[in-house]
């Protein structure tokens, strides 16, 4: 087990390293376009060259990568040209906000989708199964910006129950969290529910469940004690990997509701070519993505003895 963990962590670090190299190359290999993007189109060749020289962009790329990754590891994310502040000062509070949003979404989405997946998978082909499957196809088909528009036209404009933006300008307000959480939950719910359903349906067909039913155990007990234990293993991985998906999802939702989080920051940086912020945000995404993948792998191996011992 220890060797397995070490291997996984080694591989995780290697992947993070490789992606960070690619990321750096993509954003910085062509210094001329970089200069014209940061300084604007209407600058002279001379101005761009001076800017590149001043910021050390004319040194060999591996030297620049080494320096950049070193700074990143020490928590120095560079300087934001958009906000005129160190990137770290903006990024951390934003990440905390997004983490709060993410925790809320998971707290609603996971129980909801697991329960509906279990209900649907318990009796394949039943009316409950059909309607839950249809609802999950329907909710995954509505893009986040569309459900944001639809929900806010109902709850904000028609009914007037909820605020339409979540900028939290007058301090923290839980009512402003409702719509962003709702939109993200709607979009993510279908996928997890369908994975849960597939896993549950598979377990329900296995011989040990038939044995349990045939030996006269109450149905409740068969489901709760026998079926669920195995059926929850596969969705576990899916749920952990949803953290990764959430990083994409928050870009749209945070922009729509002007919630001050990671996604809105990345988008604003991108629209204003704030290179240091983009790099920091993308690196965070890499760490989260690869980290959750490792976590999902380890968790799956731990939960499923059949894999652990092979």
């Amino acid at each position: 087990m220890v060797i397995f963990l070490l291997k996984r962590f080694g591989f995780m670090l290697l992947t993070m390293f490789a992606v960070s190299v690619i990321l750096f190359l993509v954003l910085e290999i062509n210094v001329d376009t970089l200069a014209s993007r940061v300084l604007g189109q209407f600058t002279t060749e001379e101005q761009r060259r001076l800017w590149l020289e001043e910021h050390g962009y004319l040194r060999p790329i591996w030297v620049r990568y080494g320096e950049w990754i070193g700074d990143m590891l020490r928590g120095d994310f560079g300087w934001s040209t958009r906000f005129n502040e160190p990137v770290a000062e903006i990024l951390w509070p934003r990440l905390v906000n997004t983490a709060i949003l993410g925790v809320c979404v998971f707290a609603v989405m996971v129980p909801l989708s697991l329960v509906s997946g279990i209900l649907a998978g318990m009796r394949e082909g039943s009316a409950t199964d059909r309607s839950i499957t249809f609802v999950s196809v329907l909710t995954t088909s509505v893009p986040e910006f569309a459900s944001a528009v639809l929900l806010s036209s109902v709850f904000v404009f028609a009914l007037g129950w909820l605020p339409g933006t979540s900028g939290m300008t007058d301090g923290w307000d839980w009512r402003q969290m409702v719509l962003p959480v709702m939109v993200l939950t709607l979009y993510g719910f279908g996928y997890v529910a369908r994975m849960m359903r597939a896993s549950m349906a598979e377990v329900m067909q296995s011989p040990y469940i038939r044995t349990a039913v045939l030996k006269g155990l109450p149905y409740r007990r068969v489901i709760l004690r026998h079926a669920l234990r195995n059926a929850l293993i596969a969705p576990f991985t899916v749920i952990i990997l949803q953290i990764n998906w959430l990083l994409s999802g928050v870009i749209v939702v945070e922009f729509f509701f002007s919630y001050k989080g990671y996604g809105a920051l990345l988008l604003e940086a991108s629209l204003n070519t704030d290179i240091d912020v983009i790099q920091a945000c993308a690196l965070i995404a890499v760490v989260v993505a690869v980290g959750t993948q490792t976590l999902a792998d380890i968790g799956y191996t731990y939960l499923n003895p059949r894999i652990r011992f092979t």
Partner: protein, 326 residues
């Protein structure tokens, strides 16, 4: 345990179509088969109908759209649905012969947008841009993904390792973050969106194709072709690929839906196709300012994009159900 339950384990993968079909009959079956299959699942039929509806709308856009999609009428700014164009409204055009006055009449059935354009006409023309770029991007991604998957799955060895590692790297990244970074580096244009979608989805396609090839490469007909001395490319494209089509068609429907959403999202975020061409995502972004007073100009594009994606997803789901049945 039957073979069917084995395949139920992985919901994303459908049973590969077995056995080689004589080529001419395969062509016929390729045309008639899918239509006949739709009768077996109401999900697939309803999905196909929705998709067909939007394809027709896109094809007939010049006939169906009552107004040019970029024509602005000052009087119709944020007009609610079913507003008639005021009498005496005209478009002024300055030509060499002086001012040319073209009277405009009729009704804005779905209302006007923030700068007085007809929402219905923009919706209709918007179907065109979605139905051109989403399939184009998906087809591009498929061409590259299939090539990578076939080579990785059939050749195995170091090339498989390299391709699999690369695609793992790309798949590790949250998709939208990837798009935002790519579009930052390049400009916002149709071509770059196609490239970005290809870059982000080819690895996923490669994984699926590779999995299918690993299953199919040990079949008898592949061995027969190898004995005949056919080249590796012939075996990959003529023997293996056609027999992997079932799961790939299902996946293509799903992916087409994702790509439609992606193009919409990019448009909404201001990173998509450049204005003023009508595009559902752009339409929502353009009219968000007026959403408080006239929600119709954002609501209708939302319904349009959702119904198209719903159609594709239902089609995929229905087809998967059908292929699991037999």
């Amino acid at each position: 345990m039957t073979e069917q339950t084995v395949h139920d384990v992985q919901p994303a993968v459908v049973k590969p179509v077995g056995g080689a079909v004589p080529r001419r009959r395969a062509w016929l079956a390729g045309l008639v088969g899918p239509l006949a299959l739709l009768g077996e699942s109401w999900m697939a039929a309803a999905g196909a109908a929705l998709v067909a509806f939007w394809v027709l709308v896109a094809l007939l856009a010049p006939v169906l759209a009552p107004y040019p999609p970029t024509q602005q009428l000052g009087a119709m700014i944020n007009a609610p649905p079913l507003t008639p164009v005021p009498e005496g409204t005209a478009i002024m055009e300055f030509t060499d012969q002086g001012v040319q006055r073209t009277p405009v009449e009729g009704m804005y059935l779905l209302g006007g947008d923030a700068i007085g354009r007809d929402v219905l006409s923009r919706l209709i023309y918007g179907a065109r841009s979605v139905l051109i770029y989403a399939p184009l991007a998906t087809a591009f991604a498929y061409a590259i993904g299939i090539l990578m998957g076939l080579v990785a799955g059939y050749r195995r060895g170091w090339i498989d390792d390299v391709l699999s590692r690369i695609s793992d790297l790309i798949l590790a990244f949250p998709v939208l973050v990837l798009y935002v970074v790519i579009i930052t580096v390049m400009d916002r244009s149709a071509l770059n969106i196609v490239l970005a979608v290809t870059f982000a989805s080819a690895p996923g396609i490669m994984r699926i194709v590779r999995g299918l090839v690993l299953d199919l490469r040990n079949r008898d007909y592949v061995a027969a072709a190898q004995t005949r001395g056919e080249s590796a490319w012939y075996i990959m494209f003529v023997e293996i690929l056609p027999n992997a089509r079932g799961p790939l068609i299902v996946d293509a429907c799903l992916r087409l839906g994702y790509t439609t959403i992606t193009i919409g999202v990019l448009g909404f975020l201001g990173l998509g196709l450049p204005p003023p061409d009508p595009n559902w995502g752009n339409m929502i972004a353009e009219n968000r300012g007026a959403a408080l007073t006239s929600p119709h100009s954002t609501l209708f594009p939302c319904i349009a994009i959702s119904s198209l994606v719903l159609g594709l997803n239902m089609l995929a789901d229905g087809l998967r159900e059908i292929s699991l049945k037999d």
